[in-house]
Symmetry: C2
Subunit: 359 residues, 2 copies
């Protein structure tokens, strides 16, 4: 029996990619690049060569249950952790760790987002395996840090203690918020800062100890014998989950614990958090720097546009530059690339004006 | 029994409104303004208050048979004139006139396009009734001319003989091609020119006489006893229609006959021939002159755009000016309003690149 477990967190309902991503069908369930697999499916595929499928769990909102089982038919319903309310990552992780503890108290667990892009799959596998080895032999909370390649202002950073490393594993000095561009340049130049990928590895024993030190009450809510992997698990969760506070794992644990380490990794990572990041990543730009992410397009007198429509749909784009053009069944977005930070405001406006079912 | 008949010509497969209009679902079948009735249905509705439904015929390409019967369930299949090939208006009219002659040799017939806009329905009705009266008592080919309101370069013009009128009916001096802007201004200033609406009224007797003078061979192909309104009508048409030459009624008859008259009408007409004309007509422009023709839209920092998407779909448009934005199930067009004359080139390109089924 393998001690290696995986929890994929797939509960997000992000609006940044509206209308491509909507609350009833958010980003992780979308075949973003038109390759035939959704981001969640790609995440699952990436891990299943080295983590047994029966040790893989998906944490998400209850509303996505059928979607997950449809996209990942290899999983049994008991491998889904279904949250009846959104409470950020700390309650979700406390739930997952207690459920896994009841299966295998010696488990080492990878916590992974469901909607990121990894380009170097081999390096990724080696990095995760090395992290699992480390956490099996150290009482440590390990995060995956990404070696920065540009002064990105859209990510949080992790500062390492210089020269503290065993191989690629460093001690963490601080977690930082998203910096402004001047600070991001300083971070990049210093060589001591990594991007915070939101991916973690730890043993159940280590994270339990950390929770008991910093969020004992929250942990205790989930540390109940005889509930997990039984028919009453969902009822138990449904009855208590809403009483949990809304809390991120970073704020609850990672920024407080002293035994936090980070692997400095380089596996071609993007959190796919902005159209800008998708545009930068697109490797099919034409000679005028137009990127067709999904669907097909003909461009005339147009440059620097990023276009995503439906598979099989054709766009004819003339006379416009540097636009985001996103077309979905129920909505169409056309805006300047440099204005994408306002998308969430427009989504609110659409919701207020035309109703929930566009969001 | 009424002698008044109507032939609605609904065979066009225009690409000017691609992707809103496609060959399998062209403009006349579309609910262009989102009012719940297609342009063909609106045309039918406009006439049926004063022409008996059993005297209304629709001439179109065979491929649209089911679409027409679906949109106009009041009609029997025998009221459809189904062309197995596109041969322009002269063969179509020769067919329709012979079919109607076999029903009522004293018929007076209105020939109407299926895809025009009429804003003043009451004036329209009075004009057509007055035209039917005129043609019942005169051996004349009567066309509907529209009093021009601007130096339009997109229409053909009809020059009247000044002071030749009985009421609103003038003698026609010449038909002209679409003028350039300088000539269009002269036409407008002279007061002797009307827009050619492509709408005609004549008795079967008068048009038969004209055909026999100018296109006797074409008329003879259709002037066959015992074929019309029988089970063998379609077979007869199928067997001979392709042998007809491709010819417009203007070129075949109207520009040659000497007994051509025109009614100077003013019933709020547009041929809906360009996005520009639709944009000009739109009465729901916002304070930044954005016109949402179909669907719903939110605009930010955007002006002078014309947007047509699907009913129920929402567009968010930011940072763009003076664009045509047309969204259809399979295609999306975004281009400068001033470049719409190139749409047919792009449609050809889409056809060549992605195939027939986008057109």
């Amino acid at each position: 029996m393998s001690n290696n477990f995986l929890v994929i967190m797939a509960g997000g309902a992000g609006t940044r990619f509206w209308p491509c991503s909507r609350s009833e069908f958010p980003k992780q369930f979308i075949d973003f690049f038109g390759v035939g697999r959704s981001l969640l499916q790609q995440t699952f595929d990436r891990f299943k060569s080295f983590i047994p499928v029966e040790n893989i769990f998906i944490a998400s909102n209850k509303q996505y249950r059928d979607l997950i089982l449809e996209q990942l038919p290899e999983l049994k319903p008991s491998q889904l952790l279904l949250e009846p309310a959104r409470r950020n990552t700390a309650p979700c992780i406390a739930y997952a760790m207690n459920k896994i503890k009841s299966i295998n108290p010696d488990a080492n667990v990878v916590i992974s987002p469901s909607d990121h892009l990894i380009l170097k799959e081999d390096v990724f596998k080696q990095t995760i395996l090395s992290g699992l080895n480390f956490s099996a032999s150290h009482d440590s909370l390990l995060t995956m840090g990404i070696k920065p390649s540009r002064p990105e202002t859209g990510y949080g950073y992790i500062q390492v203690e210089a020269d503290s490393n065993e191989g690629d594993v460093y001690k963490v000095k601080t977690f930082t918020e998203k910096p402004n561009i001047e600070l991001a340049k300083i971070f990049l130049d210093s060589g001591d800062f990594l991007w915070n990928s939101g991916m973690f590895i730890w043993s159940v024993k280590s994270i339990e100890k950390a929770f008991k030190s910093y969020e004992a009450e929250l942990w205790a809510k989930f540390d109940v014998q005889g509930k997990y992997n039984t028919e009453s698990e969902q009822e138990f969760i449904d009855s208590m989950y809403r009483t949990c506070k809304n809390l991120s794992i970073d704020y609850a644990i990672m920024e407080k614990a002293s035994n936090v380490n980070v692997i400095a990794a380089d596996f071609g990572w993007s959190d796919l958090g902005t159209w800008g990041s998708l545009y930068d990543l697109a490797d099919n730009k034409d000679e005028n720097q137009n990127a067709t992410l999904k669907g097909q397009a003909i461009y005339h007198d147009a440059k620097g546009n990023v276009v995503s429509t439906k598979n099989g749909k054709v766009a004819v784009i003339q006379g416009v530059d540097d636009l985001i053009i996103v077309d979905d069944e129920k909505s169409l977005l056309i805006c300047k690339r440099e204005e994408e930070q306002h998308i969430r405001d427009w989504v609110s406006e659409v919701k207020d004006t035309f109703g929930e079912n566009y969001i």
